[in-house]
């Protein structure tokens, strides 16, 4: 297939946390709000005058300093963030809105705070207590926390407009981007798709780490291109998979999977489009903050949600995606040393295979996958297994 025009530009952009678009937005006077977890509603950080930057540490090599502070027992993603922060990689941030969600990420942000890695005069960090259940009591708490830990500090320190009007504008922007991403993603449903999982991931990832308004023209243009794109006569992929799990901001991971024959047709992971790029539907009856929090709470697929309904919902969700995107199998992945996904991967792999009947590949991975021979082998074996199953089904 012909290369997508903006792919190379975005790939380059994604090699830096403080990339061109981030710098452009800051030069325009907007605030860069650091985000470390999907449990802080992203849309609250994209109010007029701000833009959210989901933290990542591209091109991470050594993590020695991060490991000294956090030991080798913790998630590499968190250590990489601390390493990058110590190198000054997040000096551009105006604040970080962190939830106390997973212990490892909380420690990473606390280390950044205690080690004074961001030295702007008005820089601050807040820690929100975010819900672990999805019910009305939790919603009330969530709304309160978002008000006092996110909106009020933005307003008090930086004078950001946090009115319902402003929230509505942020939601409109979010929905605009989400609609474009969804439309792009729909092309993955095709037999011979006009966009690969890797390409899609590049565009989707960019929407998490760059000012969204500056990406909209690129996404619109890309959508037009993809509509006109001529797919390969025969799909280069031998199998179709849903990719579910913990955060993936390393493009090489999806590249590795696709190079070995499995197309990632749906992305149910942090930095992915499900559910992160769901549109937020608003009404005129309830206050905006409550509606936003309700959306993130009910749509959220983080394994941290501990009520039984949510636990079961996560499996149904992946099942639904697999059916909708006609997946042959599911890959469950987790960042090494992630407690949440360690358990979720174990349970979900078992349940999706034994109760839902899907072939499942269950892997853990380092933060930087590179060209991991081990992962390559596992994906290859999985793809071969899927092919054999397809042959048997045809017979």
């Amino acid at each position: 297939m012909k290369d997508l025009k903006h792919l190379y530009y975005l790939e380059n952009l994604l090699t830096e946390a403080n990339n061109d678009l981030v710098r452009q937005a800051q030069e325009e006077g907007r605030l860069a709000v650091g985000n470390v977890c999907s449990l802080i509603p992203e849309v609250l950080l994209d109010l007029p005058g701000c833009f959210s930057v989901r933290l990542r540490a591209p091109r991470t090599g050594s993590m020695e300093v991060g490991t000294y502070y956090m030991t080798s027992l913790l998630c590499e993603f968190c250590r990489a963030l601390v390493e990058r922060a110590m190198e000054g990689g997040y000096e551009f941030l105006d604040c970080i809105m962190a939830p106390d969600a997973c212990a490892a990420m909380n420690r990473a942000v606390e280390n950044m705070e205690l080690l004074k890695t961001c030295n702007k005069e008005k820089f601050f960090i807040t820690y929100s207590d975010v819900p672990m259940k999805s019910d009305e009591t939790a919603l009330k708490h969530y709304v309160k926390q978002m008000r006092i830990r996110v909106l009020e500090p933005l307003n008090e320190v930086y004078g950001i407009d946090v009115s319902d009007e402003a929230l509505r504008k942020a939601v409109e922007q979010h929905n605009g981007v989400s609609k474009l991403i969804r439309e792009l993603g729909e092309y993955r449903k095709e037999e011979s798709p006009r966009i690969t999982g890797y390409e899609f991931h590049v565009f989707c990832l960019a929407t998490y780490v760059c000012p969204k308004d500056l990406l909209i023209p690129i996404l619109e243009d890309t959508l037009k291109q993809v509509k006109r794109r001529r797919p390969d006569e025969k799909s280069p992929f031998r199998a179709r998979v849903v990719l579910a799990g913990s955060e993936i901001d390393d493009l090489d991971f999806i590249k590795l999977i696709e190079e070995n024959g499995a197309m990632v047709v749906a992305d149910r992971h942090c930095f992915g489009s499900f559910p992160g790029r769901d549109e937020i539907k608003l009404n005129d009856e309830e206050d905006m903050l409550t509606q936003i929090c309700r959306h993130y709470m009910t749509a959220g697929q983080c394994p941290r949600y501990m009520n039984t309904d949510k636990i079961n919902e996560r499996k149904d969700y992946v099942d639904q995606l697999a059916k909708e995107y006609k997946a042959d199998g599911i890959i469950y992945e987790q960042m090494k040393f992630c407690d949440y996904w360690g358990y979720e991967r174990m349970a979900a792999s078992y349940i999706m295979e034994h109760e839902y009947g899907y072939p499942v590949l269950s892997v853990d991975r380092p933060y930087v996958v590179g060209t991991s021979g081990q992962l390559r082998t596992r994906v290859q074996a999985f793809v071969e297994g899927l092919e054999i199953k397809k042959i048997h089904r045809r017979q």
Partner: protein, 55 residues
């Protein structure tokens, strides 16, 4: 009366023997040394039991 004395004498000897035995068991840790063998046996019992092993 003699019979009662006899009974008391036997009881005292019995208690003394029990005390000595328990003291030896206590001091030389014989209860725990015996438990080692019992544990090995019980592990075999537990291994033999059929279990509904699943998630």
């Amino acid at each position: 009366m003699d019979k009662i004395k006899q009974i008391i004498k036997v009881m005292l000897i019995g208690f003394a023997a029990l005390f000595l035995l328990s003291w030896i068991i206590y001091f030389f840790n014989l209860d725990m040394k015996a438990s080692v063998y019992l544990k090995k046996l019980m592990d075999k019992v537990y291994d033999m039991r059929k279990r509904d092993r699943r998630l």
